[in-house]
């Protein structure tokens, strides 16, 4: 590194001094920020907090991921493996505290929301530029939001974030107002996601495919090269000085660059880490955990917020019309066995439809137990009769369904095979149908599935509304019910207490009627070599790499 960053960035800071908290928005106490030192769930301590000396600059971080989504546009990709790299290219208007869910300043130094959550006025930091020198101003942000809704099927997340978007009014160079047609309390959290990361106006104007090949952002790292399905190379942005208020290092990154490589086999990734060919690997498989621990790698885990992994039922189907049958499916699934057999040690079983790290998550685990006898009893109560081969039948219709699944996580197939075994044990027949990831949205919108297996990562409970409200996409073909009102009310609620109450009721409705069968909370696990410090999860269980430094890095 050639430029000398401001002195404060060179020394690790355990606590946040007042001077670093540039004009924080209302409602953010120091307690919030102190909580940062204890990051994430089990084993997720920030390595920088464990000591290891003063950060040193230099070195390239080598990071092996399992897959490549074929795109590096942060607004279009949704796959964790790609977000690790694209997240570093862009800054967001806000950042979200992974512990408290609190929204804190980043590019926007302050904001105001009107009473019915339809108008959001942001004021940008001064002096922020894209990597080609163009300033990040109101017009650039407006161009991003205006264009975002035209993105194709790849950008599935953005539709929910900007739903009801009417336009962005530019007040002055650094102030603008985003307007929605209906209350959209979730939008503030949405501005903290990589999906609404701010891109250069030229990138924004390019075609969807061109954006997948190359993007310009204002983030701490700049894209050097991208070879699909092979590697992504980033270099540090010189003169970067506008990091999120949650980071320890808000100026230039310590690293000179980051090299992401795609290594599909988890065993090979683990071996690469042990033999010092890479410093960080993603998607740790449970069978590699012991080996990595023996090699003294740090295992960082954090449960992804959002909707837990589970069986999502298509309610158009006759077989799911009986609540008894839905409850029986849930009771037949032994979540503990699944978690201990297929997942890493830090992965928890689902305790609600929302995963445990989602703000306003309510623990409903008493409704998600395992009781095969009760399951069989319920099936009999629903009017099914035993067949000779141990299955169930009612009016000639067998009790069976198909699960559509996608191979976007190595744990999917073993989990589903285990669920198939567990359901077969009470006589419910299940067949597994593998689909293509690219066809996922088509299957959802056309309802061409009986059940599917999936989750959605989103650090805001509004994901319940975008997924289950019957006036929206309603991919699961729910009947209109009191649930709709609850979901609408929470979207309009600006009082956090009131919103939490409404979200808890909505979860209870979904879980106790078994409208979806949550099974396991997706947990992101990274293995990091001992000499690497400062890898930290953000609120969506993705990583920011600006704080990262490597011991004994070449200067």
């Amino acid at each position: 590194m050639t430029l000398a960053p401001p002195p404060h960035s060179r020394t690790p800071q355990r606590t946040f001094s007042g001077s670093r908290l540039r004009a924080l928005g209302a409602g953010i106490g120091l307690s919030t920020l102190l909580a940062l030192t204890a990051c994430g769930g089990a084993g997720a301590q920030s390595p920088a907090a464990d000591g290891g000396g003063d950060p040193v600059s230099g070195g390239t971080l080598r990071f092996a991921v399992g897959s490549d989504a074929g795109c590096i546009d942060p607004q279009q990709v949704g796959s964790n493996d790609s977000i690790y790299s694209t997240r570093q290219l862009v800054d967001s208007l806000t950042d979200q505290d992974p512990e408290t869910g609190e929204i804190v300043p980043w590019l926007a130094q302050e904001w105001e929301i009107n009473d019915d959550a339809t108008e959001f006025t942001f004021t940008l930091q001064e002096g922020v530029t894209f990597s080609d020198g163009t300033p990040v101003d109101s017009e650039a942000v407006a161009a991003n939001f205006d264009r975002a809704l035209d993105l194709g099927a790849r950008a599935a997340l953005i539709g929910g974030y900007l739903q009801g978007y009417e336009g962005t009014e530019i007040v002055d160079e650094r102030t603008f107002t985003v307007t929605f047609a209906e209350p959209s309390a979730q939008f503030l959290q949405a501005t903290s996601t990589h999906t609404l990361g701010i891109l250069h106006p030229d990138t924004v104007a390019a075609s969807d495919d061109a954006r997948c090949e190359s993007v310009i952002g204002s983030g701490p790292f700049v894209l050097e090269s991208y070879t699909p399905n092979d590697s992504i190379s980033l270099s540090a942005r010189e003169g970067y000085d506008w990091g999120s208020s949650l980071w320890e290092n808000q100026s230039e990154p310590y690293l000179d660059g980051i090299e992401f490589t795609v290594v599909p086999e988890s065993g090979v990734r683990a071996g690469s880490l042990q033999s010092d060919q890479v410093e960080v690997i993603g998607n740790i498989a449970p069978q590699d955990e012991a080996q990595l621990q023996a090699a003294e790698a740090q295992l960082l885990a954090r449960t992804n917020p959002g909707i837990a992994f589970g069986l999502r039922l298509n309610h158009d189907l006759e077989v799911f019309a009986d609540e008894e049958v839905r409850e029986a499916i849930s009771l037949a699934i032994n979540r503990e066995e699944i978690v201990s057999t297929v997942y890493t040690a830090d992965t928890p079983a689902a305790t609600s439809i929302l995963s445990s790290t989602t703000p306003d998550h309510a623990d409903l685990s008493e409704h998600l137990g395992h009781d095969p006898q009760r399951a069989e009893q319920l099936i009999a109560e629903a009017g099914y009769e035993r067949t000779d081969d141990g299955g169930w039948e009612r009016d000639g219709e067998p009790l069976e369904f198909e699960i559509l699944w996608f191979n976007n996580a190595a744990t999917n197939a073993p989990t589903l095979e285990l669920i198939q075994q567990q359901l077969a044990a009470v006589g419910i027949g299940v067949s597994l149908q593998e689909g293509q990831v690219a066809e996922w949205q088509t299957h959802l919108s056309e309802g061409t599935f009986e059940t599917n297996w999936g989750n959605i990562t989103r650090a805001d409970p509004d994901i319940l509304r975008t997924t289950y409200h019957t006036d929206l996409a309603n991919s699961y073909r729910l009947e209109p019910s009191a649930l709709d009102d609850l979901l609408l009310e929470q979207a309009a609620a600006t009082d956090p207490q009131e919103r939490a109450e409404l979200v808890a009721q909505a979860q209870e409705h979904l879980v106790t009627e078994y409208l979806e069968i949550p099974v396991v909370d997706l947990t992101t696990v990274l293995a990091v070599r001992a000499e690497v410090h400062g890898v930290r999860f953000d609120s969506g269980s993705r990583v920011h790499l600006n704080d990262v430094w490597i011991e004994d890095a070449e200067q």
């Binding site: 065993g267 683990a270 498989a285 069978q287 057999t341 297929v342 198939q420 075994q421 067949s431 593998e434």
Partner: protein
């Protein structure tokens, strides 16, 4: 890949299949090159049961292959005899046990017995390969015999299409076709069959051409027999030998191709224990549980090698008629 390279390496040993000989001279084909040493032994007078046993013992590779194939066939038709367990249900507390006396091939990530899964997967893999070879044999045979027997522009047209098919690597062709047809065992069979239709068509043509130009067919024609009689009585029976030997050889290749496609996830849906899917499932456990990929892989290799050995024996014996 193996299934592309191997046939071209082996085929020239069969009479008249050299692709560089589109219209071979009849004279060269009447003296078929054989292996002199073995041919001499083969022609020695039969000495009854004892002689036959000695002949088998003199070829331990063939004996071993035959015994192994017998096991494979048993597994295909009566898997319960070799592995009475349930291939679909596991005990998750027994997950990833290494091979031992309790589990000969170890257990997989869900605690299912791998040996049971391999045995029960045999019929799936063999059936798919068999369907593929039968489709390729029948369609390739019809096209080849038609080309060789009818000649003229029909021959030209069929053989140019065959040339085009041969120009595309067979696995690539299978992949393209299966993307169009969709997943599943039957579709895998059709895709693999298309990959080897051209090979069958070529050898069927060269064989029927050889027979058509021989004197006894000429004699039969000059006696006034109808074309279908000539075809049925003379051409087909005399052309069948090498084609059937090729079919056995191609069966081994088809097992490889089917396994390759199910390894890539195009085969029967999970948890069906197709051999290729078993290898693919084990890939993520390579460092922690190498047997999950090694043992099913060895079974595939052993089966294909045994079939190749058998095909060689069949081809060799045919030559000496």
């Amino acid at each position: 890949m193996t299934q592309i390279a191997a046939p071209s390496a082996l085929k020239p040993e069969l009479p008249g299949t050299d692709p560089s000989e589109p219209r071979p001279e009849p004279a060269t084909l009447q003296t078929v090159p054989g292996r002199p040493d073995r041919g001499g032994r083969e022609r020695s007078p039969a000495q009854g049961q004892a002689g036959r046993t000695r002949r088998w013992l003199r070829r331990p590779g063939l004996l071993l292959s035959a015994l192994f194939l017998l096991l494979v066939l048993t597994a295909a038709f009566a898997p319960g005899v070799l592995a009475p367990g349930d291939p679909y249900t596991g005990d998750s507390s027994q997950a990833l046990q290494p091979p031992g006396t309790a589990h000969w091939f170890g257990t997989d990530h869900l605690g299912r017995d791998l040996y049971t899964r391999v045995v029960h997967g045999t019929s799936l893999s063999l059936r798919t390969a068999l369907i593929a070879v039968v489709i390729a044999l029948i369609s390739g045979g019809i096209f080849g015999v038609a080309a060789g027997f009818l000649g003229g522009w029909i021959d030209q047209a069929i053989m140019r299409v065959v040339d085009v098919l041969l120009a595309i690597p067979s696995l690539l062709l299978s992949l393209a076709l299966i993307s169009a047809l969709g997943f599943g065992s039957t579709n895998v069979a059709i895709a693999v069959a298309l990959g080897s239709v051209a090979t069958f068509a070529r050898i069927a043509r060269s064989q029927s051409l050889r027979v058509c130009q021989s004197t006894f067919v000429e004699a039969s024609r000059s006696l006034g027999s109808r074309w279908h009689t000539t075809l049925r009585r003379h051409v087909l029976p005399n052309a069948a030998g090498p084609i059937l030997a090729l079919a056995v050889l191609e069966f081994g290749m088809a097992i490889l191709a089917v396994s390759a496609l199910s390894f890539l996830g195009y085969g029967a849906p999970r948890p069906a224990p197709e051999w290729g899917s078993l290898v693919s499932e084990g890939r993520n456990y390579m460092a922690a549980a190498g047997w999950l990929t090694t043992l099913p892989g060895l079974v595939i290799a052993a089966t294909v090698l045994s079939i190749n050995r058998l095909a060689h024996a069949l081809g060799g014996e045919r030559r000496r008629f």
